[in-house]
């Protein structure tokens, strides 16, 4: 019985690992193939089934004048927009989440929970609903087709995620911790910065991770709100496509665009399994 259990366990682990890793391996081999090795029947192993070459990768850094697409600039644009918008969203979101968790707000029938829900409701709407208002708004302040404009829009999109995660997190941080800090002589700002915030690092990391993911993968708004001056990575990757689908360079660009998220996942995983709040009050 236990042998069967062990067998099944390992079987599923291996199955799942293959399920997750195989697409990446497939993309990796494809990125080194040429037209012939992709369209002339299935090929698997480099040097055996096909002769690998770097054409798919070279296209990504060659300038358009030389027949490439040059994703370097859009790549850094994406990094810059995602990181800046995430950072600002986390800062603003954490501050508002702390206020929503610790103080009572009331405006008529609107109370704390309603305000929190208002933030989340921004993400319930289909993005297409927001596209025209955003377009008109950015055009009225001359920020269409600019990095700053994209950052503004992304803050609007990412902050609800930060608020939502952090309100939930702060609600789980016992109020006694703040009260103790006040009794020990901190003012409310110091209590937040010196005591509550260091205890909330796991929450900040989760919120940061979600902001980075949602910012990084956005295609829709990047596509609608930019034209020629500024381009973000997802838009550029789609632009790679042509009448003959260049599977090799598409695969290569897919890998480089996933890379930052994989790095983030590795860093975050270490922090998530370490410091959590469970021991603060018990």
């Amino acid at each position: 019985m236990s042998k069967l259990y062990t067998f099944l366990k390992y079987f599923f682990i291996v199955f799942w690992a293959v399920f997750v890793v195989a697409p990446f391996l497939w993309a990796l081999t494809t990125s080194f193939k040429d037209f012939q090795s992709v369209n002339g029947g299935v090929t698997y192993i480099p040097w055996v089934d096909f002769e690998p070459n770097l054409e798919g990768w070279k296209v990504l850094i060659k300038s358009p004048a030389k027949g490439g697409v040059d994703i370097v600039e859009p790549y850094f644009n994406s990094l810059f927009v995602t990181c800046t918008a995430s950072l600002i969203s986390i800062i603003l979101g954490t501050l508002s989440a702390y206020a929503l968790s610790r103080y009572t707000f009331k405006a008529g029938f609107v109370k704390n929970n309603d305000i929190t829900f208002f933030f989340i409701s921004q993400r319930i709407m289909p993005p297409i609903v927001l596209s025209i208002p955003f377009f008109l708004f950015l055009s009225s302040i001359n920020l269409l087709d600019s990095l700053i404009g994209l950052i503004v829009v992304y803050i609007v999109l990412l902050m609800p995620i930060a608020v939502w995660i952090m309100v939930d997190f702060f609600n789980k941080v016992p109020r006694e911790i703040d009260e103790t800090a006040l009794i020990d002589g901190c003012n409310p700002y110091q209590a937040f910065l010196k005591v509550v915030l260091p205890n909330s690092i796991p929450g900040l990391i989760v919120a940061g991770m979600f902001c980075i993911i949602f910012g990084w993968i956005d295609f829709f708004f990047a596509f609608i709100l930019t034209f020629t001056e500024v381009q973000l990575l997802p838009v550029k990757i789609v632009a790679l496509n042509s009448s003959v689908t260049p599977w090799w360079s598409l695969s290569a660009s897919a890998l480089v665009s996933v890379a930052p998220l994989i790095i983030v996942a590795f860093i975050v995983e270490r922090y998530l399994s370490k410091g959590n709040l469970s021991g603060a009050i018990k």
Binding site: E176, T180, G185, N187, G279, A280, K282
Partner: protein, 357 residues
Amino acid sequence: MAKIDLSNISHSYNPNDPNPVYALNPFSMTWENGNRYAILGPSGCGKTTMLNIVSGLVRPSAGKILFDDNDVTDLKTEERNIAQVFQFPVIYNTMTVFENLAFPLKCRDFSKAKIDERVNSVAETLNLKSFLNSPARKLTADQKQLISLGRGLVREDVAAVLMDEPLTVIDPDLKFRLRRNLKEINEQYKTTLVYVTHDQNEAMTFADNIIVMSEGEVVQTGSPKELFERPNTTFVGYFIGSPAMNLFDSEATSENAVKINNTIIKTNTNLSNLKTKNIKLGIRSEFIKIAKDQNENLVDVNVQKVEDFGNYKLITAMMDKFEIKSKVNRETEISGEKIKLHIPAEKCCIYENNKLI
């Protein structure tokens, strides 16, 4: 260290309601510098509200709080220089034990030398010295509670250390040691300690003054002996002592005697000014003994059961329709079902409308 005056304090959590519910009814009280107080009462009687008012976490709906005759009612918690220990240990997870203990001093800009000296001295008292450099979150629950306590004691000039059932999470043996520790700390540093509990034994062994509360009301303040022997109300008689005080409905028959069923019991209380017929006689089971050669204040009872608690025996008997309990030495032999018990006149408390006369 300070003398704390609570003057006409009352608190309601819904003061704007037309019919506000008071968590704390108006009361006045003075806590003298350097004494040990226990606030005792069942859950939900307003004990924690009272503490939070003193520490400034709650602003009272009415009344004033004075520290050494200075009005602090409107001062914020951080400006009051008070220490509070909660029921569950609250520690700063991301800091070491040393940093936890030093935190209140750092917040108040003490010099590094002073901080080192105080933290080491408090850690010594609380047996935390060997953990000073470990992360606080790695410690056990009771060590964490010691840290909470230590943060309260590390400031020498703290007005009072307020403790809200601080020993709940700690095992009985350590509880006993910690209570003794607290007493020593109180004697050594002359810190005013206020201890909230619903456990009467804890209150009796710890404090020299006990404040008994019930339903938002301070019902009696006094030494453990006063509370035990002369409870102000039937509630205190019932709440303090194990078993609870024996209480019998009775009627006054003369200036100093009452009748329970058909037995006349003499008391040392003057009963000539009674206004109502709602009279109760209260007596501790510790004072009721099996009659030997006394010839008055005797009652005939039917023994229902005798429980041996090791260091004493508890007799539960029926005196007609009233149950009566008596605590006797464990060597006492109880012969037969029908026995005579003696109720000493000087230990009888008479309650009119549940208040002591």
